[in-house]
Symmetry: C2
Subunit: 233 residues, 2 copies
């Protein structure tokens, strides 16, 4: 019987290829199969664009199996479950054939990552190694050259604030809005109106060539926009 | 006039040298001065032990200036201010001589890092570049092979919970206790008693040779202990 392959979940960081870890780069230089989900047929994923320079250095680049299944950004939960079932089975087929598979994901695999859907489905059947990555919010703070949290501060990280907004703004010392492109004007007004001294800034395309830091909320919001609210009291 | 050097704050990640970023490794292979604060005279810092294999590969290793000022872990705020003033001035002297200085720090430089004290003091006088690092909590989740947060979850990261504990346990979906070695038994009982279904686990020395994952809170608590509380409701 063929020994099953190993699934390796790789966080590729926020955008700059140099923010890959040594460990991630090592795997990407030798793994036979790379899985890189993308949201539309036309363009490659951001995660793939980050690792491409590493892959292209490979002498066996032409033999590398690069699999780019399309995962539309939809809200329908049942449909999403079906899509992730099918992606996981596709990965399982490669693993069954004895090949290791790297699944690349933007930022870190444990924080709001689609990798977690695959990880959960395959964890009982295959060996899985997860390699952490640089999260966008620490990269944004590095670009800003200012600490996110110090001493006894509380840091809160949210994809998009729901009805817990009031509590989060009350008890946190720093709040990261991960997917700021989904912010509503109402949400932003509520945050601005919060009666605590604070600094708000947004970073677009952090660590990428077109990186841009904006005071306050960002009017135009590319997909890769993170907003940070730092309370000063 | 000599061109001033640049300060480069480097997050060296949680423990495994391979979790350094390509960018951090590149700087560490050529920078003339490395600053690595340590807490006691006897032993080198954990951050230094992480980067040592990279430094030792350097052909000019013998000429590298490795500066290890002692920063005792004390609570006295005025004394701490004085210590950080003096550390910053020491760094400034190297920068004034035209040398770049790398300041290494465990995990990420923007999250509960002593680097922020130096960064704040020197930001108006020198060029500073901050290189983000892998934070311990995403490394712990990777070791556990389970996502920290998904979808609309709220992640809360705290060094040691103060009187905001009740609220944090109420609205968060995942809570990271960064410095679990400082937990009191009372704090742990309060968390365990919280009336929400949850999973608690602790990771000691994450990604290091003596890494250990423990269900619940950890009885013995080495300095590098992180506890994660993941609510399931």
């Amino acid at each position: 019987m063929t020994k099953k392959g190993k699934l390796i979940g790789i966080g590729v960081g926020p955008g700059d290829t140099e923010l890959l870890t040594l460990k991630a780069a090592k795997v990407l230089k030798s793994v036979p199969v790379v899985f890189s989900p993308k949201s539309a047929k036309e363009k490659e994923s951001i995660a793939l664009s980050i690792v491409r320079p590493i892959l292209e250095e490979r002498k066996d680049y032409k033999r590398l199996m690069l699999v780019e299944p399309i995962f539309p950004m939809i809200e329908d939960k049942e449909e999403l479950e079906r899509i992730w079932d099918s992606a996981s089975e596709m990965i399982a087929q490669y693993l069954n054939s004895g090949r290791d598979v790297a699944f690349i994901t933007l930022g870190d695999p444990s924080i709001f990552s689609t990798y977690s859907y695959v990880q959960r489905r395959l964890i009982d059947r295959y060996e899985i190694e997860t390699i952490p990555g640089i999260t966008s919010f620490t990269a944004c703070a590095a670009t800003r050259n200012k600490a996110l949290v110090e001493q006894n501060n509380i840091l809160t990280v949210v994809p998009k604030i729901d009805d817990r907004l009031e509590e989060v703004l009350e008890y946190s010392d720093a709040v990261v809005l991960m997917k700021a492109s989904r912010n509503t004007a109402e949400l932003e007004s509520t945050i601005e109106a919060k009666n605590r001294p604070k600094e708000i800034y947004s970073v677009q395309n952090c660590t990428r060539e077109n990186e841009k830091v904006i005071e306050g909320f960002s009017n135009e919001k590319p997909y890769l926009t993170t907003t940070i609210i730092k309370f000063d009291d």
